[in-house]
């Protein structure tokens, strides 16, 4: 099981702040995204549009990153702090 978080504009677009996903073992971020696109259809357009970073355990990673049980994944829209 992994936790997937959505922040800022994504919370509203996806309609959820957090979901829990059962991976069925080690997988890649790419595969997790494909599964999420099915479970949460708005995510398809969001990812298509680009500009979203994804973090695993609070570090931004590439799509070939390995995901394991217990990881915390987050979808991060463009930052606007400061």
């Amino acid at each position: 099981m992994v936790k997937v978080k959505f922040f800022a504009v994504l919370k509203g677009l996806v309609g959820k702040e957090e979901v829990t996903v059962d991976l069925g073992g080690e997988t890649t971020l790419e595969q997790l995204i494909e599964k999420l696109k099915t479970d949460l259809p708005p995510l398809k357009d969001i990812i298509q549009k680009g500009g979203i970073l994804i973090s695993v355990n609070q570090e931004v990673v590439e799509k070939d990153a390995i995901i394991q049980d217990g990881d915390e994944i987050a979808f991060l829209p463009p930052f606007a702090g400061g």
Binding site: V9, G51, S55
Partner: protein, 142 residues
Amino acid sequence: MNQDRIRVQTEDFGVEEETNKIKQSSKRIGGIVTFLGAARDFSKGQEINKMFFDHYPGMAEKKLADIREQALKDYDIIDVTIIHRVGDISIGDNIVLIIVGAEHRKDAFRACSWCIDELKRITPIWKKETTPDGIVWVEEHP
């Protein structure tokens, strides 16, 4: 010390109070450069009524701590404070405070400027602006 020097908080901060903490960290400090970001009433041709900052708890603090460590490594400086407010912010309110203490001013200026650039680049904080036309999450980033 690190915990006091890096904060993400809803409440306001005191510029003088935080400046004094930096000063007290070493008598070698001769130059202190501060960046204070405040909420403007106007952005990209659009009037702003108020704003709201969201953040990723844990990761935001971690990134600010990373920025502080990197600045202390890369520049000839003595101490750094980085504080970012989140939640509801009114026009004129403080948003972000970065204070850099160094022996000499050149390094303090360079490090402070680098810290705010880096904060905007890597810190998971987001801004929602309320304008007369509605509420928008800010995507573009100056």
